[in-house]
Symmetry: C2
Subunit: 333 residues, 2 copies
């Protein structure tokens, strides 16, 4: 062998901001995590988020081989991020509007920073760590948690759109007269298949019918029920929980079939705290999606649960750095 590729020749730094914490990883050139840490953000001020990031990055730098660390960081943040200006236009969950996160990070860390939405970089993680090796260059990553969002990869590149807001899957309509969404629309996917929406529907039915395994799981506090509890009960064949998950899957199937008909991807990956936690949703989609998607694009696509777990966002953030390094080394192809 003339030349052997050493995956550990260099490392990249990535950080994913969840509502009130940063997950920070160091990955090798294959996107494998060689170091991970989490650090809590004390409040919702952007300056606090950046100060916390600095603390976390410094702790990380102290515990890895800095010689091989590339001089840059990728950030996966909540909200609508203008990828060109590095400004978070709006992140409703944390109450941020027009926050120049890239500039703030570069000032605090003194290193080049790349920023994108955390679900979009989740798609980059799937591309870099899983799909690319199988020759897949068109994929969609769907993150289901407190909200629903997606990242789209087209011909190996993140699909950005005219003002960096492509991929707002959670706000596509799946039920024209469905529940009102804070975005102003009725019947947004997110209002039916997000974690809180799943838990709410389970709670409602529990109040009406009772007698479910969920009563036990709730321990007298139905307000504490989570989507994860509903999945747990469903996997034990609890009828009420199964009904709620089946309804969830039937609406998710509409959105997934729409994605297949519109984007013709080779791979759709479910991730996020709810979407990536259980294979049940994916199993149901395997049966439901073919009833809605067109046969020809359907024949090109696989639907899978993410294998990256809660690391997906932070890994994807580090891929922002890896992609940039790769462009410098190998050109834009």
């Amino acid at each position: 062998m003339l030349l052997e590729f050493d995956s550990n020749a260099a490392f990249a730094l990535g950080a994913r901001m969840h509502d009130f914490d940063w997950g920070i990883v160091v990955t090798n050139l294959d996107g494998e995590v060689v170091h991970r840490s989490e650090i809590r953000i004390p409040d919702n001020a952007p300056t606090s988020a950046i100060a916390t990031l600095k603390k976390g990055v410094e702790a990380t730098m102290a515990s890895v081989n800095r010689d091989r660390l590339m001089p840059a960081i990728g950030l996966g943040t909540p909200g609508l991020v203008d990828i060109h200006s590095g400004i978070i236009k709006s992140a409703v969950d944390v109450g941020w509007f027009d926050v120049p996160i890239r500039q703030m990070a570069e000032d605090a860390l003194g290193t080049q920073t790349f920023v994108a939405n955390r679900s979009k970089v989740g798609a980059l993680a799937e591309l870099w760590c899983v799909a690319a090796a199988a020759g897949i260059r068109d994929l969609i990553y769907i993150s289901i948690g407190t909200g629903v969002a997606s990242g789209i990869i087209h011909e190996g590149q993140l699909y950005i759109g005219a003002n960096s807001s492509a991929g707002e899957l959670g706000h596509t309509t799946v039920l024209p007269d469905g529940p009102l969404c804070p975005c102003g629309n009725h019947g947004c996917l997110q209002q039916i298949v997000s974690g809180p929406a799943i838990a709410n529907r389970a709670r409602e039915r529990l109040r009406v019918t009772g007698g479910s395994l969920l009563t036990t799981l709730a321990g007298g506090h139905p307000e504490r029920l989570t989507a994860q509890d509903v999945f747990r009960a469903a996997s034990q064949n609890d009828p009420l929980a199964l009904e709620v998950i089946e309804e969830t899957a039937s609406f998710l199937a509409i959105a997934v079939a729409n994605l297949i008909n519109l984007f013709n991807p080779a791979l759709i990956v479910l991730g996020g705290p709810v979407g990536g936690a259980d294979h049940l949703l994916t199993d149901m989609l395997q049966e439901l999606v073919p009833r809605r998607a067109m046969a020809f694009p359907l024949s090109a696509v696989q639907i899978r649960t993410s294998s990256l777990g809660s690391d997906a966002g932070a890994i994807g953030a580090s891929v922002l750095v890896l992609q940039e390094a790769s462009k410098l080394l190998f050109g834009d192809a």
Copy 2:
């Protein structure tokens, strides 16, 4: 001026196949039509379509300056076209399956041939003739006629997908329990907003309520009513026709808002025999889409009726040639 660009320095040949005719155009480098003709295809055999194309192209060649004509032709055809192999995988309307249209055309015409779906090339026509001059590189062309399809332009290139079947907008779900579509799905956009669907709904209501301008337009033959008649009556404020068009617009608005949220385009253009015939639909969309689309991607998009009329497909087919020539001259950027 050192160098002046002469739009008429070279010409490109394009042909759009409608169900049983070819529209053939010669365009200059700006995509402006300098010659157009139509020729009827006698039956639905692929060999007949190719023989007719040959006749039409020969007639065209006899009446334009052949010295400046580029030695290639672009075809916009019905159906799912594999853009890499040049094979029509399926075109249900004409009953074609696995027809190697590019090879057949090259054999018959003796010239290099490029093939794509006729709605997809419609998007190329809008890009080349209208949008590019305004700096727009992300647009979606929606063709509404007997069916509903779309062509997606992303960063100045046709969006193809994993097996050339991206853009099947007509088969996205806008009403989960809506009418059954021949594709197997329920509530496909096409079953509600295509020309035949509009005419059918008008007919049904006419039977129940009567007393519409449509009764006059139908002249005692409601079975002859077309979507164009319904638009004509609506533009004269006929209440029944207006109700049908408003319903049509409300479902189209769901699909358009979904496109805006997913693709974040800078421009959406309505074309085709129904979509491009009247500004009424676009006017209604201007009001309905903002109720459903997210504010940020919405702020980046314009919605317009195509100005290219029935030439869009043939012009777009010629753009397949113009783009290829442009790549040879200026590279792939």
